[in-house]
């Protein structure tokens, strides 16, 4: 079925259009993003259970963007009376003018930006889903997740807790300007199993997840992930510390996604180019990886949690080839940064929610696949590690450093897995070295969308990333 667009947004749309008409008398540009995204989150463990509508992207509110004399400003609010658009327009004007009074007194200069274009455009998208979070059978879902948690406790004598969480959000967004009218409605879902074991004071946790551009029907697949979480915990209990050093590594698809995200995901967010915060700006057209390294980014290059039809500035979704056979071709860009840089926006302008500013953000960040089998990759290594499980990452776009925290590594010696596991692992290095070392890629690609991404330490948004098994060299500690 179609994910039906919000009745609420439909009902306030005439009032929003009238507010835009009124504000256009005072401002050179006016746009409105209105959101009404409903969520369902269920979390079940052996010792607590909760049901809420609070997911990372559930929201209802409005943000007005205006520009006057090259100065952009925004007003975010969540109490709009569609019968009194003049009152809302006065509220916007009054609040922003109060800020300008203080800014003038402080002698602040404006960073001037050209006007955003406003050509005629309309779009109405309702994507397919089998179920909606707002009408899901919560009782059945609670029982399903409880069953997984209960089963987990029977699969390991060292199990102390198994937390199973499921979240689904029905995103509805309306973008309006004087000449543009865009609406979209879609559902994404994500689930996770956290298995926790303890043996003689040694506590370990394993995490398995599912995600997709679909409704709560996704959670039917979760039980299939349980045994992997249990097995990983057992291996972690016996894991050793790695001897620090540089090794040949094979990144599993999840770790490949983490590398993509941290290496040339953040590194080519072009709002960072505007501030001269990314080394990538100087490397467009230059080699940053091996011939085998090709990377895509965009809401259209995979179907997962952030595969929208248009971004939070009304730019249609795209698919950008960032790195083509080792050569950095372009970055991703929000609309205002595109104006400042004289390039086209790529559909990557995203907000944490209506209360937050737009930044250039990732959607699906993916390495292309190759033709090498995992068996051949393992056979090619004298001493190295197969890295599995993503914990976290951090980028340094200005210096091209990278930090990836990885759950575990499987030792490879003389072309064979030895059965020895090392954990945990911190992988660090210089991004061009890491990508320059890519010499084998598997044919199969996977996408992972259960995590969130911050810009610095804030502005959390949904992203997905992934790719194939990938062989390169890295520093492990």
């Amino acid at each position: 079925m179609k994910a039906k667009f919000s009745d609420y947004l439909g009902s306030i749309k005439p009032g929003l259009k009238e507010m835009i008409r009124i504000l256009r008398k005072d401002y050179d540009y006016v746009s409105v993003l209105a959101t009404d995204s409903r969520g369902l989150a269920v979390r079940i463990s052996q010792r607590s259970r909760s049901v809420t509508d609070d997911t990372m992207t559930a929201e209802r509110g409005i943000v007005v963007r205006v520009c006057k004399g090259g100065q952009y400003a925004e007003y975010a609010f969540n109490q709009f009376d569609p019968a009194a658009p003049d009152k809302a327009a006065a509220e916007v004007r009054g609040a922003l003018e109060a800020q300008l009074v203080m800014l003038r007194l402080a002698g602040v200069k404006t960073y001037r930006t050209p006007l955003l274009p406003d050509e005629e455009q309309s779009l109405f998208v309702e994507k397919e889903t089998q179920q909606l979070p707002e009408t899901a059978d919560v009782k059945a879902l609670v029982e399903k997740l409880g069953g997984i948690s209960d089963k987990a406790m029977t699969l390991s004598e060292f199990a102390v807790e198994c937390i199973v969480s499921a979240q689904s959000t029905h995103i509805c967004k309306l973008f309006l300007t004087e000449h543009r009218d865009l609406s979209q409605s879609y559902v994404y879902s994500e689930g996770a199993i956290f298995m926790i074991v303890n043996r003689e004071g040694n506590t370990q946790v394993a995490y398995e997840s599912v995600s997709g551009l679909c409704g709560p029907e996704l959670f039917d697949t979760m039980e299939g992930k349980l045994q992997k979480a249990v097995d990983t915990c057992a291996e972690l209990l016996d894991a050793e510390r790695i001897q620090p050093g540089e090794y040949d590594i094979i990144a599993s698809p999840e770790v490949t996604g983490l590398i993509a995200h941290e290496a040339f995901g953040h590194g080519v967010e072009m709002d960072m180019f505007v501030k001269n915060r990314a080394l990538g700006a100087e490397y467009i057209g230059k080699r940053v990886g091996s011939d085998m390294c090709t990377m895509h980014e965009g809401a259209l290059c995979a179907e997962n949690v952030t595969s929208y039809a248009f971004d939070d500035e009304g730019t249609l979704a795209g698919d950008v080839t960032e790195i083509d056979h080792g050569i950095l071709r372009t970055g991703i860009c929000d609309a205002l940064s595109a104006l400042r840089l004289g390039v086209q926006p790529t559909g990557n302008g995203k907000r944490e929610n209506f209360e937050h500013k737009v930044y250039t953000r990732m959607t699906n960040t993916m390495f292309d696949s190759g033709t090498d089998s995992l068996e051949d990759m393992i056979a090619s290594i004298d001493h190295g590690y197969l890295l599995e499980g993503m914990e976290s990452g951090m980028e340094d776009p200005k210096h091209w450093g990278i930090q990836c925290i990885i759950k575990m590594g499987r030792e490879i010696r003389d072309g064979k897995l030895t059965g020895k596991v090392v954990a945990p692992i911190i992988m660090t290095g210089y991004v061009p070295d890491l990508l320059g070392g890519i010499c084998m890629l598997s044919p199969h690609r996977e996408v992972f969308g259960s995590g969130g991404c911050g810009k610095g330490y804030k502005e959390w948004v949904k992203v997905a990333d992934g790719g194939p098994y990938l062989k390169t060299k890295a520093r492990l500690g």
Binding site: D81, V138, T203, D396, K398, H399, P424, T428, R475
Partner: protein
């Protein structure tokens, strides 16, 4: 609207309920260099309703929560309460008692002048001692005036009015055509102009040094000294181990009265939850469930004294008077700065992202700038990482006796971990 919602909840027949109403008036300013990129205003109200229902003859208590729009009609409120009443029967937990009201009187606080606070931030940033080689790339200022009201079925009706601020700053340093950046994110109640000036001036000096670094040479173990806010993650680990949910789930093995280490060879940590710290962004009289926040010693001289946390898990552990902590103070250091700064050690002042895993105790961090001290010799280094486990470090950890405050935490100014694994960055 709230009165109507309370009336609907009271007549709904549910066992218990809570309403949290948070109104935020926020001002935001985004600068590139010192030019204003954008300015923003946020004027929002978020109302969250939580409903409790008993089951199994009082043996179980379930709960469900949802946000309701401040413009909701009576019909929408009634539907929400009805939906939550049903959903709460599905999420059954072992029974516990809801937070009771207190006789203690609290000051509600007063409205903050967000224009004045914003101007303080802007003025402070304009006065930074920038040079040709070290300056500010960009910064983002967030200042809010927040009113939080909590109403519950047990009779709690408390309101707090407080300021909340954050500034994110990116500092550049350049030398011989090469430029690097350092990132800072400060939270506070209002603008701490002196603290901001002091820390950003030091940050610019770090930037200068980072351009002079050699690759981190160590591949093995080394003593590591923390002299900045990254050490907060280490002390957060101790507080988290004392949380009632971690104890009840058996994820933490800390026991009241049993030392957290069987044989201390270094300093013994004392962790105290505090209602107030000067200009903290987390100064509250009561927590999100209405429990009164009191100054409480959680760990004393390395011995757990008091578990702490949400009402549900505290009740399960038989703790009636507890709360979700906000501010923390850590003491227990016995060494002077001079004592801790002796011999050969690596002082890491800039990480990519230093982390302590609250479940396993593992620590990680890529080194962006460190100083390798060896007697009188100091070499700035970068690259590589540190790793290890707090379980191994607790025994010999040292702390300085003086302290430094980082927003909602006051911690020893220096923290020394022995025999940390260091992965070097040389060739």
């Amino acid at each position: 609207m709230l009165n109507q919602l309370v009336e609907i909840l009271k007549s709904s027949g549910v066992y218990g309920w809570e309403i949290s109403d948070v109104k935020t008036n926020g001002w935001e300013f985004y600068f590139i260099r010192h030019e204003l990129d954008q300015h923003r205003v946020k004027n929002v109200e978020h109302i969250t309703v939580k409903v409790y229902q008993t089951a199994d003859n009082g043996e179980s208590l379930g709960f469900a929560s949802a946000e309701i729009a401040p413009t909701a009609s009576r019909q929408e409120m009634e539907k929400l309460v009805s939906d939550l009443a049903y959903r709460s029967t599905l999420a059954k937990n072992r029974a516990f008692t809801l937070t009771p009201p207190t006789d203690e009187q609290f000051s509600e606080g007063k409205a903050s002048d967000i224009a004045d606070i914003s101007a303080d931030f802007i003025r402070t940033m304009a006065e930074l001692p920038e040079t040709d080689s070290e300056d500010v790339n960009s910064y983002e200022i967030f200042v809010s005036d927040v009113i939080h009201r909590l109403i519950t079925s047990t009779g709690i009706d408390e309101t707090e009015h407080y300021p909340s601020s954050m500034i994110e700053v990116v500092v550049n340093a350049r030398r011989d055509g090469h430029e690097i950046e350092l990132y800072r994110n400060y939270t506070s109640g209002t603008c701490d102009a002196a603290g901001l000036m002091r820390d950003l001036t030091r940050t610019m000096a770090y930037g200068r040094d980072r351009l002079l670094t050699q690759p981190t040479p160590v591949n093995g173990t080394c003593d590591v000294l923390f002299s900045g806010r990254d050490a907060c993650a280490i002390y957060d680990y101790f507080a988290t181990r004392m949380s009632a949910s971690m104890i009840y789930r058996k994820i933490s093995d800390y026991e009241i009265g049993k030392p957290i280490c069987d044989r201390f060879e270094g300093d013994k940590v004392t962790v105290t939850a505090l209602r107030e710290l000067a200009n903290s962004s987390a100064n509250h009289a009561f927590d999100e469930e209405g429990s009164v926040i009191r100054d409480t010693v959680l760990i004393e001289d390395g011995v757990p004294k008091q578990y702490i946390g949400s009402r549900m898990f505290c009740c399960y552990l038989g703790i009636e008077d507890s709360f979700i902590p906000t501010n923390l103070a850590v003491t227990g250091g016995t060494g002077s700065q001079e004592e801790l700064r002796s011999g050969r050690y690596l002082e890491v002042v800039e990480f990519s992202d230093f982390q302590v895993d609250e479940i396993t105790g593992d620590i990680f961090g890529e080194i962006r700038l460190a100083y390798l001290h060896d007697g009188d010799k100091t070499v700035p280094v970068s690259g590589g990482s540190i790793s290890g486990s707090m379980n191994d470090f607790i025994r010999t950890m040292r702390m300085s006796s003086d302290s430094t405050q980082y927003d909602d935490m006051r911690i020893p100014s220096l923290t020394l971990l022995h025999d940390v694994t260091v992965t070097g960055a040389e060739g």
